[in-house]
Symmetry: C2
Subunit: 71 residues, 2 copies
Amino acid sequence: MAIIVNLDVMMAKRKISAGELADRIGITPANLSILKNQKAKAIRFSTLEQICKVLNCQPGDILEYAEEAGK
Amino acid sequence: MAIIVNLDVMMAKRKISAGELADRIGITPANLSILKNQKAKAIRFSTLEQICKVLNCQPGDILEYAEEAGK
DNA sequence: TAACCATTTATTGTTTTACGATAATTCTTT
DNA sequence: AAAGAATTATCGTAAAACAATAAATGGTTA
């Protein structure tokens, strides 16, 4: 079991690209990619806050406690 | 708006004290307190994972994107 | 196929912050 | 008031975010 970062679903719903999301969150596309692909080992609340704001969602829509492979 | 860490609700449901939770998560009571009272500015997924495991819940049960004061 | 664009991966450096260890302080409850 | 639990405060270390940049990869279209 591990914490899974799933941004793809909400990104699809909001029809926003990784590049634009990174831009609006205020981090580089490279770092967003790390976050998006389970390469990050932690997250700042300030970053999580920006993501929730831009995607208009809750942390629970993005973070999941589940099997490694994703749901 | 900010990210709120709300452990109290799940702790009450599971009837577990801060001391025991800290113990089972594997962090010091001092650090759990910091996390519990909005003093932390980030969280490691490994820690979030332990919390979810011990409290048998999802990140969304603990993290909330809401007003500073809490809901 | 080749050019193009977006995304991912990799590297390096800086800054932030978690977290431990510890002690002091402040509840809380009996 | 006393005892225990929780919070707060310091200090130090290790971990990791994130920036900046460049290189590699992947998909799309002419």
